[in-house]
């Protein structure tokens, strides 16, 4: 570790010039300083902090390796809004004042980590170790091995509290999306933008410009970073261009859809109270130019993972962009001319470069730096941070002291997004990297170094060229663009994947995968790159092997003696960078996940203290407790008795209501209902049954003819959506010749049941019209007025009592509920809830979707006669399939306990008394149960084999889960008023 004092003095002239506000942050409870415009990584290095975390498996000390989103090592936890966010790349975090960060995966401290012992046990912890070692005894895995391994391995810890970040979602549309605002992206954006079409330019960094911020050459005589900012400014000023920085394109989907995460307040110096932490974007573009640049690859050698070892490109970034010198005695090691450039950049800032090591044969001398041509680095020394390296030139070994080693193994184009639609990249032998196949993603071109064009001038030219290609396809006239004068040199890379030798050489820093692991996996016959990946976990960490996969493939090719082309590559999948689940679900969290639907009587129900029950998205009152009632059953029983003896009011608005109009309405209804509707007279109502085309019951409900060509049909609450979709399907797909229209009016009408012997008295009182049995018999309809409010009155019953349902425009729902209840209370009645509604219908054997569960036929529920064989209807033919008319099928019956005190349980199965209660003897199951206060016993509906013919038989009900076994009797499903005299009275 360097002394902070010395470091600070040396950096005095290198502070960022454009943004020099000093800010403070903490790392592991220690306070440090940085500048606005720093990343957390550059600020830590500025303070001489070299060890940032411990590695995943071996707990080796790790420092900053890169300066971008590919960072595998410098992962930290950030405390923000009382919440710990783990595994955040310090290289991506924009420093803000009072940022609080901690290191990860170390105990008790970063400097002394107890589990470093794993590093010394490493001969035993290689690839496949867990698979082989912890196999026996089997039961130990879950209780012992897994918890221990999980606590030892891993990175950051999840926050124990729910994610309180504010995520938002947004949509954007454009003609052209440019991904990456480096040299190629800026020129591609400019080419598209000056034509006037809609352009989005997205870049993951908080400053656009890409590598131009990290290099020192000139563009048209300007500093390249300044040139980039000027170009961005011009683009931002164009009304047809949207420049989105801090925006990572995460994935590519069909039809030109891209997912993106924009960091707004998160890890930003510009957090503003009312803005979200991040925005999950769905961007739809007609055409796209991928200008994602490239990622420098390391060279693999023994002990190449020490803090102080850094990518050469990162060293230039820290030096040129942030004014941070990552060491005092630096050595540069590479196989290409970009490595040399690093030496010159450092020298120009007065930093001592002790040695330049190049694996190529011919290397020009560099003034003031010892040059090693045809040489490699074979080892490094610690113990914690880098203290020395060993250089091998032929048979000569040179050991040099240093505190920073910059490595450059060449560039890998960032083609991740081109793989998202299943196309694998191809190896290019000439420039030694994987490139995207042409149009691997439809309507996407790849430009710049992402397409293997590495000089700045050529990358810019490529940006212009690829943008023109897509403009042509869009039919847009393009204007000529001058490509500015700038650096235009080949970086002359000669491939070098690994330096051979004994000892551990790291490939995947984040998952601690070494060359040794690859050798082991190859020895064990993992010859496919996909098998190698899964056996060694190479590239399976959160960085997806961004800087290690190509090296791993290179090493694997050397091990197998195959070419890289034949070795192949694994598939990159979305997301490009890790993204919080909360961001993906933006807009669908908490109550926004499933919105609540309230009936118009909701406030009334709440005032009466009624507990809600969910019915789909609807909230419905379960019962209405009266003072002194301690148990829900007391309330429920009272409400049932109230309906049977006086009158009850129930909000039934949640049932689906569909308005059917048009000259051919009756033809439509005949076609979707099993029974005939066309014979229904005006002002009459009929019960109807709908089948699916496969012959099973879809839904049941009522159909009222309220005009010559006008019907109102009802559906169950559960099937309301399914039925309207079905009707639209029939009208648009099967029978567009039918001249009829359907529309859901469920929410437009509030509807209330008025049920009980005193129902007519109540209805007669509130309606302007006279309501008599003769004028309004069972199953009839009448338009009425309640005061000045128009209402629809249906005489239908779901309770078996004399009952009506009255329907008013939803805006009158609350008033109507209050009126009906106050009138009912004058008649010893009142409101009733879902529990009582359920008891009333079970006592009468009326079905719900507990019975018509998608497997039941009309015959099963005793409604075979409702299928009119004289006409075609949906499901009619299929309902006659042999399997559906089999008399051994489970059929609807009633069930009573033999012992009146016994309780029947829903979901329990029924068996012959003398048989073992096993599946093979199963006779069917209980669908609905209740305690009937009318019969003073538990009753149930059930689907029982050949049940229609078995009334009176005694069986046993067994519930294996709740340990209950009782004797029951099969009965008719109608327990009460089997002649239906009450409903007609």
């Amino acid at each position: 570790m360097q002394s902070l004092k010395g470091q600070r003095m040396k950096l005095k002239n290198l502070e960022p010039t454009n943004n020099s506000k000093k800010i403070y942050f903490t790392f592991d409870d220690k306070k440090y300083f940085g500048y606005l415009g720093d990343t957390l990584a550059s600020a830590l290095l500025r303070n001489g902090v070299k060890i940032i975390g411990r590695s995943f498996k071996y707990h080796r000390p790790r420092g900053v390796l890169t300066a971008g989103s590919e960072e595998p090592n410098a992962l930290v936890s950030i405390l923000r809004n009382g919440q710990i966010n783990p595994n955040i790349k310090a290289t991506e975090v924009e420093l803000y004042d009072n940022l609080i960060s901690t290191s990860q995966n170390r105990w008790p401290s970063l400097k002394f980590d107890f589990l470093r012992i794993n590093d010394f046990l490493s001969p035993f912890l290689g690839a496949g170790f867990y698979y082989k070692t912890f196999m026996w005894p089997k039961s130990f895995w879950e209780k012992l091995y897994e918890p221990v391994i999980r606590s030892a391995a891993g990175l950051g810890k999840l926050s124990p509290v729910a994610d309180n970040s504010v995520y938002e979602k947004a949509f954007a549309f454009c003609d052209v999306l440019i991904i990456g605002a480096g040299p190629a992206g800026l020129l591609a954006a400019k080419t598209a933008a000056i034509t006037g079409i809609q352009v989005i330019l997205a870049d993951e960094d908080f400053v656009g410009g890409g590598r131009l911020n990290s290099e020192t050459f000139k563009i048209d005589g300007q500093e390249c970073s300044q040139w980039a900012q000027n170009e961005l400014l011009k683009l931002r000023e164009m009304p047809n261009v949207r420049v989105m920085t801090r925006t990572t394109i995460l994935g590519v989907y069909d039809g030109g859809t891209y997912s993106a995460l924009e960091k707004v307040g998160e890890y930003s110096s510009e957090a503003i109270d009312h803005l979200p932490d991040s925005i999950f974007w769905r961007i739809v573009s007609k055409k796209t130019v991928l200008c994602s640049g490239s990622i420098e690859r390391p060279i693999v050698f023994k002990n190449n993972d020490r803090p102080g070892i850094m990518m050469a490109s990162a060293v230039r970034t820290f030096l040129n962009r942030f004014g941070v010198i990552p060491g005092k005695k630096i050595i540069v090691f590479g196989n290409n001319d970009d490595a040399r450039r690093t030496v010159f950049d450092l020298q120009s800032k007065g930093v001592e470069v002790i040695a330049y090591v190049d694996s190529r044969d011919k290397v020009e001398k560099i003034k003031n730096t010892r040059c090693f041509a045809n040489s490699v680095i074979v080892n490094t020394n610690g113990p914690m941070t880098l203290s020395a390296v060993t250089i091998r030139t032929g048979n000569t070994i040179t050991k040099l002291k240093c505190d920073c080693l910059a490595i450059s193994g060449g560039w890998n184009p960032s083609i991740h997004l081109t793989s998202h639609m299943n196309n694998k990249p191809i190896w290019n032998e000439t420039i030694n990297c994987f490139l995207s196949r042409p149009r691997a993603v439809p309507n996407m071109e790849v430009a710049g170094s992402a397409n293997g064009v590495f000089s700045t001038k050529m990358a810019m030219t490529s940006g212009v060229f690829r943008a023109r290609e897509i403009l042509k396809e869009l039919g847009v006239k393009f204007q000529n663009i001058r490509v500015p004068e700038t650096e235009n040199e080949d970086y002359n890379c000669e491939p070098l994947w690994q330096v051979d030798g004994k000892g551990r050489a790291w490939l995947d820093f984040q998952n601690d995968v070494t060359v040794k692991d690859l050798k082991q996996s190859q020895k064990e016959n993992m010859t496919s790159v996909e098998h190698m990946k899964r056996y060694t976990t190479q590239g399976m960490a959160t960085d997806q092997g961004k800087n290690s996969n190509v090296n791993a493939i290179g090493v694997m090719a050397e091990l197998t003696g195959q070419t890289i082309s034949l070795t192949g590559t694994t598939t990159f999948r979305p997301p490009f960078s890790p993204v919080a689940i909360g961001a993906l679900g933006a807009g669908g969290d908490g109550k926004r996940f499933a919105p609540i639907r309230k009936t118009t009587s909701h406030n009334f129900n709440e005032e009466r203290g009624s507990p809600n029950i969910e019915a789909g998205l609807w909230m419905r009152p379960n019962w209405f407790p009266k003072q002194g009632e301690l148990h829900w059953r007391e309330s429920c029983d009272r409400e049932v008795n109230m309906v049977r003896n006086f009158v009850g009011i129930c909000d039934v608005s949640t049932l689906g209501k569909i308005d059917v109009q048009g000259p051919d309405s009756a033809i439509l209804l005949d076609f979707v209902y099993t029974n005939k509707i066309s014979s229904l007279m005006l002002g009459k109502i009929r019960y109807g049954l709908m089948l699916r085309e496969d012959g099973h019951v879809m839904d049941d409900g009522t159909c009222a003819r309220i005009g010559q060509q006008h019907y109102i049909i009802t559906t169950t609450t559960a099937a309301a959506g399914q039925v309207i979709r079905h009707l639209e399907f029939v009208l648009q797909v099967l029978r567009p010749d039918i001249d009829a229209q359907v529309i859901s009016v469920t929410e437009q009408w509030a509807q209330f049941a008025i049920a009980g012997p005193k129902a007519r008295k109540l209805v007669d009182k509130i309606c302007e019209q006279e309501i008599s049995n003769a004028q309004m018999p069972f199953m009839s309809f009448l338009e009425v007025n309640v005061g000045e409010v128009a209402a629809r009155l249906f005489r239908i019953s779901f309770s078996g009592e004399h009952a009506y349902e009255i329907s008013v425009a939803a805006s009158y729902g609350d008033a109507m509920m209050r009126l009906l209840v106050s009138e009912a209370e004058l008649l010893e009645g009142g409101p009733y809830g879902m529990e009582a509604l359920n008891v009333l219908r079970i006592e009468k054997g009326f079905i719900t979707h507990a019975e018509i569960d998608g497997r039941a036929t009309a015959q099963d529920i005793g409604m075979k006669k409702m299928i009119n064989e004289g006409k075609d209807c949906i499901g009619q033919v299929s309902s006659l399939r042999p399997g559906l008319v089999d008399l051994e099928r489970e059929q609807l019956v009633g069930i009573k306990p033999i012992n009146k005190e016994d309780v029947i349980l829903a979901g329990a199965h029924v068996y012959p008394v003398d048989k073992n209660p096993k599946r093979i003897n199963d006779q069917g199951h209980i669908t609905s149960v209740c305690y009937s206060p009318t019969l003073n016993t538990s009753i149930a509906l059930a689907l029982i084999k050949n049940g229609h013919k078995r009334h009176g038989e005694t069986l046993k009900m067994v519930d294996h889960l709740r340990n209950s076994e009782i004797l029951v009797e099969l009965t008719s499903p109608i327990f009460f008023d089997s002649t239906g005299s009450r409903v007609r009275g």
Binding site: Y253, D254, G255, G256, T257, R282, V284, P442, E693, D694, R725, E728, F729, Q732, V733, L734, P736, D737, D872, Q876, V877, S878, L880, R881
Partner: protein, 94 residues
Amino acid sequence: MRIICPICGERDLREFHYEGSSKLIDRPDAGAGLAAFHDYVYIRDNIAGINEELWSHEYGCRGWLLVSRDTNTHEIMSTELARDAKFKRSENET
């Protein structure tokens, strides 16, 4: 995925409900018998390539669409209102 609704224009996949093969358009006559309905309800080709499908613009105009889609690439070749397709088929029959 993006689907061009003939009524609403190009919309995101999530506005649509996928029903299944366009075979559902050609419902047999009532007298066609059980075998014909069995084929209509259950038998589907498993196409790798251009598939004709029924989609509903459920969270839009609620129009039923006949969509021609490449199951290999998810590319949408064409869309039209199922109503129009059905009328065309009826005309061809007569």
